[in-house]
């Protein structure tokens, strides 16, 4: 899906693209519809001044890619969700999120995130069905203090993923808007099964629920739950 841009990649176009994606990602609009066919990873790299050297960004389509494209299996999964969090500044929210080791507190599918000290890399472990887990390494692509963090998985991940979280003050008294945009793709296709193993049937809803739990934690200091409460006979 990157053929188009890599085939016409003159430097002036790259420059204006960078500007366009930059304002898209830091602006207020719907990010995914603005990105259209462009990959989120590519856009994040471009704004960060990256070399776009990651897999699938600049290469030619392999035969396998062409086949999976024809069957629709190569479509990356993209999710965009926004919540508004009351009584917390962008700085406070950014601080909590920036410590990636906090993320499993509200992201249900994550088992752990370990930050590798003195690098911008981290190791992620996610729950998969039947007690299995999926692991990958990721790198911070862009880090704008109190505003935006973007990241991408490093080559070799079973499920390539990238995304960003953005913190933006709403009008006075209206809290802080937190937008998360994520993209997942599987090198060589097979996306549906891989994603389902990570996120269950409805990844969109899972991301929404994760973000809602973040909001609960930030606004109330805890995550509402009924797990472990009493009930009578279920049948």
């Amino acid at each position: 899906m990157e053929i188009k841009s890599s085939g016409t990649g003159s430097s002036s176009e790259n420059f204006s693209d960078t500007e366009r994606w930059g304002s898209l990602i830091t602006g207020g609009a719907l990010v995914l519809s603005g990105l259209s066919q462009r990959s989120l990873r590519g856009a994040l790299m471009a704004i960060a001044g990256g070399t776009l050297a990651y897999h699938g960004v600049a290469g030619q389509k392999s035969l396998q890619d062409t086949v999976t494209a024809a069957t629709g299996l190569d479509k990356p999964l993209r999710v965009e969700k926004t919540v508004t969090i009351q009584n917390k500044s962008a700085a406070e929210l950014y601080q909590y999120w920036h410590n990636f080791e906090n993320l499993p507190t509200f992201m249900k599918h994550l088992k752990s995130v370990t930050v590798m000290t003195s690098t911008n890399r981290s190791h992620w472990v996610a729950n998969a069905p039947l007690g299995n887990s999926v692991e990958w390494d990721a790198e911070v692509v862009n880090d704008l203090e109190n505003q935006l963090i973007s990241w991408a998985s490093l080559p070799g991940a079973t499920v390539e993923n990238s995304g960003f979280v953005r913190f933006q003050a709403a009008p006075p008294g209206r809290g802080t808007e937190v937008k998360v945009v994520l993209e997942y793709s599987v090198p060589g296709g097979g996306l549906t099964a891989a994603i389902a193993s990570l996120f269950g049937e409805n990844p969109e809803q899972q991301v929404g629920d994760d973000l809602r739990r973040f909001k609960m934690l930030m606004e109330t200091g805890e995550i509402a739950t009924t797990e472990g409460q009493s009930c009578g006979r279920r049948s």
Partner: protein, 393 residues
């Protein structure tokens, strides 16, 4: 402990279940001394509410004594006597900050279900289906109260359970429904439904300055109780309600019209049959003939107040009448937290004695019998208070 569980359509039973425990730092555990059955519970009982599950502990009107506290609850102490608002609210979100407690952002653990159906989720509610959080309810010996530091109202000495238990729902609900009527001096308010909500709404409408209240039902003892509260009454089995209201208001129609019946309204003729069929085949979950009547009967430029519960789609709403008559509609699950103190004040000052509504006080063990007589309107039943501590006579 013993707790009343939903077991299927028109079937509830008292079972032995594990005692509740603290799950979050802002939780409390309450030992329940009194707990009431609500008209909303009847919708669950009848199987009208999707996402209720067998074994769910139901009930949302309860009070009692604090027996255990999470580490972050500082406003009440062990041993305090408290009432618990039926909706669960965090106290710190956008909506709680604006006194819109039943719209709290942070208490529905299954928000996505409500969001899918309604765009946004209201607050969680005790004992009311998993779409609203699936919280264990309060028709039990004990209950867990989340966000106890915002929800609990400590009851001063010298007031009985019966005087204050209805602060958990029906008194504030009737009161907010009356506020939503936008009552001006000289106004006439028509109220459909003389169940507990309608009864408290009648009395609240007078407190808020209504000149006349016309109450509509067909159950004789409920109509009698409405008259005792100062209302004129209409029996919808005996008169054509729309015409009668017009005649009683000089042809103009009541200034405001309240639907205190909701989705299980009894309809007449073809329209009632149509609703029943649609509801049975689950195309339409709500029967809306009271809402329709209210819109048509209210005067031009008037207000429709809707405390009655609706959950899904409603067919055949006279939107043309609503628009062309320039009406306003106000509704919602009640923002109980907002009304707790002001209405406790009114009880203490003697503006109202809420015990008038109680027709039955039963042991918790007899709750299934209570549901049956409340639903069937047997034994002149209007409101039941259950007492876990009470031994059957």
């Amino acid at each position: 402990m013993r707790a009343l569980c939903w077991q299927g359509n028109n079937k509830v039973g008292v079972e032995t279940v594990p005692d509740p425990k603290i799950l979050n730092p802002r939780d409390a555990i309450i030992k329940i001394t009194s707990t009431a059955i609500c008209g909303s519970d009847l919708h669950l009982y009848a199987g009208m509410i999707p996402t209720v599950q067998k074994g769910d502990i139901i009930g949302h009107e309860f009070m009692g004594e604090v027996v255990e506290l999470g580490s972050k609850v500082n406003n009440v102490k062990i041993g305090d006597r408290v009432v618990v608002p039926f909706s669960i609210a965090c106290g710190s979100c956008f909506f709680c900050n604006r006194d819109l407690w039943s719209l709290c952002d942070n208490s529905n653990t299954n928000a996505w279900i409500a969001e899918t159906a309604m765009g946004h989720t209201p607050s969680g509610i005790y004992g009311y289906a998993h779409a609203l959080g699936g919280y264990a309810g309060g028709q039990a010996e004990y209950a867990r109260v989340p966000f106890a530091d915002t929800g609990l109202l400590k009851i001063p000495d010298g007031l009985t359970d019966e005087q204050v238990i209805f602060l958990t729902d029906i008194f504030p609900t009737g009161y907010m429904a009356a506020e939503n009527c936008n009552i001006q001096p000289g106004d006439t308010v028509a109220i459909w439904g003389c169940g507990p909500i309608g009864q408290f709404a009648i009395r609240s409408a007078f407190m808020l300055g209504a000149e006349r209240v016309i109450a509509i039902d067909r159950v004789p003892e409920r109509l009698a109780m409405a008259r005792a509260g100062g209302a004129e009454t209409l029996n919808f089995d005996e008169v054509e309600v729309g015409e009668a209201l017009k005649e009683m208001t000089g042809g103009r129609g009541p200034d405001s019209a309240m639907d205190a019946v909701g989705m299980e309204a009894h309809g007449k003729g073809f329209e009632g049959l149509y609703d029943k069929v649609m509801q049975t085949v689950k195309i339409q979950l709500d029967r809306a003939n009271v809402l329709r009547q209210a819109i048509v009967a209210v005067r031009k430029g008037g207000t429709v107040s809707l405390p009655g519960d609706y959950i899904g789609l409603v067919d055949q709403v006279p939107m043309g009448a609503f628009m062309n008559k320039g009406l306003t509609m106000k509704t919602g699950q009640t923002h109980i937290h907002k009304y707790l103190r002001p209405l406790l004040d009114r009880v203490q000052k003697g503006d109202i004695d809420p015990t008038f509504i109680i027709t039955h006080i039963l042991p918790l063990e007899q709750a299934p019998h209570g549901y049956e007589i409340f639903q069937q309107k047997k034994d002149s039943c209007i409101k039941i208070v259950l007492k876990p501590g009470l031994v059957a006579a």
